[in-house]
Symmetry: C2
Subunit: 184 residues, 2 copies
Amino acid sequence: MTTTRDRLLDAATELFYRDGVHIGVEALCRTAGVSKRSMYQLFSSKDEVLAVALERRAPDYANAFFPASQDAGSARERILYVFERLEKLSAEPEYHGCPYLAVQVELKDPEHPASEVARVVKGRLTEGFRALAEEGGARDPQLLARQLTLVFDGASARAGARVETLDGLVTPTVSALLDAAGVA
Amino acid sequence: MTTTRDRLLDAATELFYRDGVHIGVEALCRTAGVSKRSMYQLFSSKDEVLAVALERRAPDYANAFFPASQDAGSARERILYVFERLEKLSAEPEYHGCPYLAVQVELKDPEHPASEVARVVKGRLTEGFRALAEEGGARDPQLLARQLTLVFDGASARAGARVETLDGLVTPTVSALLDAAGVA
């Protein structure tokens, strides 16, 4: 059974992603089919709904990009896999870029609770890259991880804005960075 | 003498950049010291103010990143210079990322007049990269130009969100891509 809380978080995930974080409480509650009174019994503010919705989505986000270990190839292959997944996701019509980057860009406030969630989730992506970079023998695993996150965010922002398609673009970019870092 | 039009566009440039495109007409007119009536005599909508303000800022944006030809070094140096400038700009306290990328991310609508302006302005950045890539003998100038724009956008978004500092990050990233493309 779907609870009021789940309905609110589902609506928040969809609406904020599709239309932006500035969607109001009225529209959120209408989409969720929940009264404002019920919303404020569960959450202190719209900002909290946004932050909790982003947090709830984090495990799916991680699973989407890092394959289960039984399918794993070399560290290089697993890094390239992240970007193959991004390329596939970004070709879907409802893709609007990385939801965590979008929130950071839209809120323009690193102290906002939702920006903090985004920072933690994207920090895990960088950490995933760093672990693979180390396993793959990168000369400077931390630098490579930051470079890969930069490419990930640039690619997702540009594809999300429909000004770029990632096919034939991210794989050669990431390959060049892996080569330069000494990850064979 | 500053005209009403200039005051509106100055306020729009500052407010939309600092707080986002969802700032309302009231706040815009209040900051500009202009009545709503006067605004609507000059512009058909807030969206038009936003688009015109972005268009007006475009020449400064281009000049900020591409040096005047008398200072020009090799094609490789001039490409690296773009990212040195970005690194400097991004360290300023009022930096919130590339204004054109921000608008695209926030509006989530490629057909919006302001998204179209942003697409044209960033298209010129990519074209500037492409011309330098060709001059520098890149194997695939168009691919290199797209890669550099990807890094530019990822770097500006992450630095603007205060989750990354570009020092020691963009120069090695761009150098690796230039090396891979055969730009000496």
